[in-house]
Symmetry: C2
Subunit: 367 residues, 2 copies
């Protein structure tokens, strides 16, 4: 198994290099002071450093369950399993279900595709249209796989968000075919205009909803979760215990304490939404100015701008860009066409966005 292109790039980022490659949140918005305060409180209690519950810190599970309930999906703490990020959540589910095949969007999240490959799970790839995964293709595929892995909100890498009607159609197909949905939702709260309810909420007993604090708070803490029925969570628990016992207890307590602060997380999300939207617009303008050949539509949330440079081999382009200190991920890495690109706009500064796009245009112009 080869290592991922993205992770290799991330590990080689140096001074002066502008990266549009990773799915990194903006460091400047980490609530460092507040999280330090939570760490200090959590470390008053020696229990924070002892072995913990495999299912996860109860206060944290209660807070997450409460957020679902407020979003219209009634949820109890028993229906939440804390994981070390949603990458691990997917690994736990795939192993617990002994999955053989799964219906997925194409292009899709590389980490999921690589995990399926490692587990010898056959990924049946279905194209996206303007409203989400193509309905007919999905229905045909799902008849055989009975399991779907989907990212309906600001999909990685395309940033596409499923329409309300497509969500209903997909839920109906899964319900009728008595199958299972794995809904990966790391970007769902990073909308620029409005929230759309998850597909899982329509089929709460036939779904796993994967959430994460990596995009909404801090990826280094490696805390995510799975929402599923009590019975499903119990099945996952035995597998999870054999994998790594439980997630870091300090990080769980820190986040639980952070969520206890009135409005703190909500205000933080509003800050991210506002700033990420401004950065998205900045990048869209830079692209229109320096790279007018790049075809894209402005996303309604998430962390990526995805589009096409017609006729350009973007793998060759990124190789040519590296010596000029600018990085991005060719869409082909995610299963997209050879002339597609995924740009991350959340991590670079506004000035880096302008300069990075300018450099890419310069490299392209010289070819």
């Amino acid at each position: 198994m080869q290592r991922s292109f993205i992770r290799e790039i991330l590990e080689h980022i140096g001074e002066g290099v502008i990266s549009f490659a990773g799915g990194l949140p903006d460091d400047a918005f980490f609530p460092l002071r507040e999280l330090k305060e939570t760490a200090i409180v959590a470390l008053e209690d020696p229990g924070t450093l002892q072995y913990g519950s495999s299912q996860g810190d109860l206060a944290l599970r209660k807070a997450i369950a409460g957020a679902y309930t407020r979003r219209g999906v009634p949820t109890r703490s028993e229906e939440i399993l804390i994981t070390s990020g949603s990458q691990q959540a997917l690994d736990i589910i795939c192993r617990a279900l002994s999955l053989q095949s799964v219906s997925v969007e194409t292009p899709s999240y590389l980490g999921a595709l690589r995990l399926f490959e490692m587990l010898n799970i056959s990924a049946d790839k279905i194209e996206l249209d303007d409203e989400g995964i193509a309905k007919e293709g999905f229905e045909q595929s799902f008849t055989y796989t009975k399991t779907a892995y989907l990212i309906p909100d600001f999909q990685n890498p395309s940033s596409l968000r499923y329409s309300r009607s497509r969500r209903k159609q997909i839920a109906q197909i899964i319900q009728e075919q008595k199958g299972i949905l794995i809904e990966d939702a790391p970007y769902s709260e990073l909308y620029f205009h409005r929230f759309l309810p998850p597909i899982s909420g329509m089929i709460p007993n036939q779904s796993y909803h994967l959430g994460s604090f990596s995009k909404s708070l801090a990826p280094g803490l490696r805390i995510g979760w799975i929402r599923a029925s009590r019975e499903r969570i119990d099945t996952l628990l035995a597998v999870r215990e054999a994998m790594d016992l439980h997630s870091n207890t300090l990080a769980q307590k820190m986040i639980a304490l952070w969520l206890e602060r009135p409005d703190a997380h909500w205000k933080h999300l509003e800050l991210l939404r506002h700033n990420y939207r401004a950065k998205m617009l900045r990048m869209a303008e830079a692209l229109e100015r320096y790279l007018p050949a790049f075809r894209f539509s402005r996303p309604g949330g998430g962390m990526f701008l995805y589009g096409t440079l017609p006729g350009v081999d973007t793998r060759a382009l990124v190789r040519a860009c590296i010596p000029h200190g600018v990085l991005f991920v060719p869409g082909a890495e995610f299963g997209g066409d050879p002339d597609t690109i995924r740009f991350n706009y959340t991590h670079p500064s506004p000035e880096e966005i302008d300069e990075g796009i300018r450099r890419i245009a310069e490299v392209l112009g010289k070819r």
Copy 2:
């Protein structure tokens, strides 16, 4: 797959219950104040909360590599992979090697046995003698498996430590047969008298040495590591990335900062050795006083007292003990005989040790 008996017990421990069940360190010795200081320093840097390296924090890997080198096993930071505890380390290795079968001690660590079961790895069980895993049985088994999972220092659950000569014999067999050793070493630094060099050090290119801060510092941080050749580590990295990207970065930085303090970790280990030895002696005396039928030998380190209550079904005994507020793990859970028991002496207080053993004797007397 059933959930583990031990984990279920741990989750049901309540007020007034004396537990000799888990492999829990003593909360009283967690260096809370010092770790709080490291957290405060680590959280000055927003990088602590960002995505990190899959291989692990470089300063932490350097410190661990340095400790191996000082112990006579020359090691570079590239030869260390940071994991979320050694349970995960074993999972990574098993998946990367696509193991089919493995030679193991019996009894052995339940978490490893359960992982092998989950991965459909056939565990070939070999009895222990006074010096370690029985040499002839091991040699026969290893001819077929070519892979061994061993805990040579204060083995869980038996607390047996391999003799110097058995270590050499095992290393020689593995070398001659061109096989692989997975050496699990969570208790190696918790010796009461002297350190013995690991088997891995004799066959550094044919081994994975698994270390952990769970027993020597704080299990809640979920930080362990693998020492192996550069080539082997590279193979593990691709698998690890697909599993959960990387370990909690805050915990890694905290431990790296803790290890930078001159002598802090060494003094901490000395404190643990001294106190755990005193607790072991306290338990040995309580057993001799209240449960003279219990046959055991005093361990030279680690966290457990293991022995036999001849003719007593210890699974039935622990069930009878639960209403009386005292818990232990029957040796049969680890593959031991039905009349064996593993007692943990590190977590209970000295008074709880006396009272717990007294209660068990009382329950036994009434049957």
